[in-house]
Symmetry: C2
Subunit: 451 residues, 2 copies
């Protein structure tokens, strides 16, 4: 938290404790609503409601509400008079309304919809029907479009009277059938003679997305072409809205967080106020794969009980053989999963990456294998030091090599099947490495130690 | 890769193979330079150079070069006549030049600098001195500023004649001493009477960053306040440049990738054409911590050799006890590390998160402990089933609980010490969980099984 927010939070806490209402009002008046929203999560529930009440206008309340974390806006909306909330919500932009309503409990949503104007409801219903993860799901319907034969002067005139147009940097040029045909930048408007028709200065090769394209693709396009907003069209090229850069940033952020958490078998609820129980349910299934892998390892070890009895030193190296394999496996898997997500790893080049990871895994295996072989020979010099050294050294090498192959090929394979590699890779790699590691270990042991 | 790029890549490959030079030229002419840069990495080196040569103008070459991945632009710049490259580089914006030059080998950089104009070099030298991870390191010096007494009409007029101004959405208002005093949006210019002085319509509360602020903070500000560009000032509030939203997106992307790779003990070189050997050197140290943890576990198991001899079934459950602990530990650590990076977890609330992760870890431990206790009692019913069940059940529980504590507290602790939690957490958690897991396991075994 930066010092500006820290200061705001401390002032609010102090003044609320002293019940210095008019001074709280003054502080809120001087603050940006985004900042107020940011610090609200560190206040307790009663203070949060007080601050929300003490905001100057319903516009401020609406802006603050739009910036709040999901669990907080649900808390506020569901515990206050629905009429008042409907008034505040009606002041939001359609995309913020959609986002908020789609997260509310069904009954509250219905009640609020019943209090909005029929036009608002019609537009909202349409937006609520779109999949939240698509271009249409994150678009704003407040954009600025004109027909092709409008002139620059008309465009400037229209722009001066436009209201409610979210960040107008581009004028979208449409045909009479509302089909998107090009884009004109605000700067181009200023640089050309007033009488120039937009058709003459519009871009020829417009980047746009279809309504059902994944939000991640939209973010990639905006980043690649450095666009401030991307138009969204339907199957017939009719313009529906725009996805603005601030939403693109949110998408990039969220998708990165989602990927990181997914690879660890968790999700966003880890940060919510949701109960430990709901977290338990999210995280338990992923661990079940680890449990199954561990169980399989234990069954296998059970089969070699006789050998272990003869050479109990073998037990001491099981954790390190599995641990090194497991970690190389997850290292490799992480590199490939993130590479696929950012486009740095291409499925078409899969074989190339496989060879590369195999080489690195093999090199790491040789290094750590030799290291452990030396240690084991010194530690158990009174038994069969050479045989044990070969067993543990080669096992580490084989386990790390196998892990690199499994870690690199699993995400590529899932990507091919269009299954999200971030979810599926972790547990599979763990399990495979556990089972293969133990097998390899006891096979080498039987071979070298004649047990 | 989207179908547009796929198509471009395939056309280029086919035409280059056939040596259909004029058709390659035509394809390149119709394509966006960003797209050409994107597909160049999938061509082989000879084709890459051919494409670069066949681009229409030096402007196209300069734009393409600016969009290339680091290893590719180094390849191109270092293998071609330095005079030609200097010409092309001189066409780039200063921030692109800085980025490119800072990645080149020292001798090539010096040679290119010697071929640029003295003014360019002066500006570049200054930029090259800034830390690449700060606001100044990623800023562009091409922005649009005017003094406070300029009018809207003058601003529009000046804007129409401005060249080389990267994405002008804001007019920065400065004092006679070049100090930043406010911002005027392009839209505000159009909405106000031509004679209005900028001082009257500028924002009162301008968001800006100091030159040495971390790039991640800049990205967070831009995202929080939905800004298209953030002005960068020096200690005396003098304006130095702007960080534009496209650079902010790159920062957010890179930082997320960096964090993900760091947690797995790897870095960006994993995607470069750098040798397997250099990858080995990056990844080996992180694995060394795992190796040490495994070794410590093996030493501990060695101490309990006598007990293992008596009850060899114990060996079978070592991997699952350590594996479950390790995975809960890394799950918890991932949640906290990412939470700290995105601001979802605040250090001030550390205790709260600790309690929460402890509860979840405990619940998961109880669940999987009972599951494993049941299995062990059934599997080894002919030994001391009850004692073994208690041993493994309680060990899993204790190991998962410990792992949750270590996994949650380690990143919070490193964050407090201002050490990047993403680097340090992984190895420490693995090692701690291995050692503590084994200790707990054999302590329970001694207690319940009287060995």
């Amino acid at each position: 938290m930066n010092s500006r927010l820290q200061f705001l939070l401390e002032s609010l806490r102090k003044l609320l404790r002293r019940n210095a209402i008019s001074r709280v009002r003054k502080v809120l008046h001087k603050s940006r609503n985004e900042d107020v929203a940011s610090v609200m999560r560190y206040l307790d529930e009663a203070q949060r409601h007080q601050v929300f009440d003490l905001l100057e206008t319903n516009e401020d309340r609406s802006e603050t509400l739009a910036e709040l974390d999901e669990n907080l806006f649900i808390e506020i909306v569901t515990t206050r008079p629905v009429e008042h909330m409907a008034q505040i919500i009606s002041l939001m932009s359609v995309d913020d309304q959609t986002n908020l309503l789609s997260h509310l409990p069904e009954d509250v949503k219905v009640e609020i919809l019943s209090l909005l104007t029929p036009e608002d409801v019609a537009e909202l219903q349409e937006m609520l029907d779109y999949d939240r993860e698509t271009a249409a799901g994150i678009m704003s319907t407040e954009y600025f479009s004109l027909e092709e034969d409008s002139t620059c002067a008309e465009a400037i005139e229209a722009l001066q009277h436009a209201e409610d147009v979210e960040m107008a940097f581009y004028i979208y040029v449409v045909s009479r059938q509302e089909k998107l045909t090009g884009v004109v930048s605000l700067r181009a408007l200023l640089m050309n003679p007033p009488a120039t028709p937009l058709a003459e200065i519009k871009t020829q090769d417009t980047i746009y997305v279809r309504q059902d394209q994944d939000q991640e693709e939209v973010a990639q396009l905006a980043a690649r072409y450095n666009l401030l907003a991307i138009p969204v069209v339907d199957d017939k090229q009719k313009m529906l809205g725009i996805v603005t850069i601030d939403d693109v940033i949110d998408v990039i952020r969220e998708e990165a967080t989602e990927d990181i958490l997914k690879m660890a078998g968790a999700d966003e609820t880890a940060y919510d106020d949701s109960s430990a129980w709901s977290n338990f349910r999210t995280r338990a299934p992923w661990l079940f794969a680890t449990w199954m892998g561990g169980l399989a390892a234990s069954v296998l070890i059970g089969l070699y009980e006789h050998q272990l009895q003869k050479e109990v030193a073998l037990a001491a190296f099981i954790p390190i053989v599995l641990g090194m394999g497991g970690n190389v496996g997850s290292q490799t898997a992480t590199i490939i999963v993130r590479g696929l997500a950012t486009g740095r790893v291409e499925y078409g080049l899969g074989a190339q990456y496989l060879v590369r990871e195999l080489t690195i895994g093999g090199m790491l295996g040789i290094f750590y294998g030799i290291l452990l072989a030396l240690y084991s020979a010194v530690r158990y010099y009174d038994g069969q030091p050479l045989a044990l050294a070969f067993t543990v050294g080669l096992s580490i090498w084989a386990s790390m090599l196998t892990a690199a192959i499994v870690g690199a090929s699993t995400p590529l394979f899932f990507h091919r099947l269009k299954i999200d590699p971030a979810i599926a890779t972790g547990p599979l790699v763990t399990t495979a490495v556990d089972v293969l590691g133990i097998l390899v270990y006891f096979l080498f042991a039987q071979w070298f130690m004649e047990i």
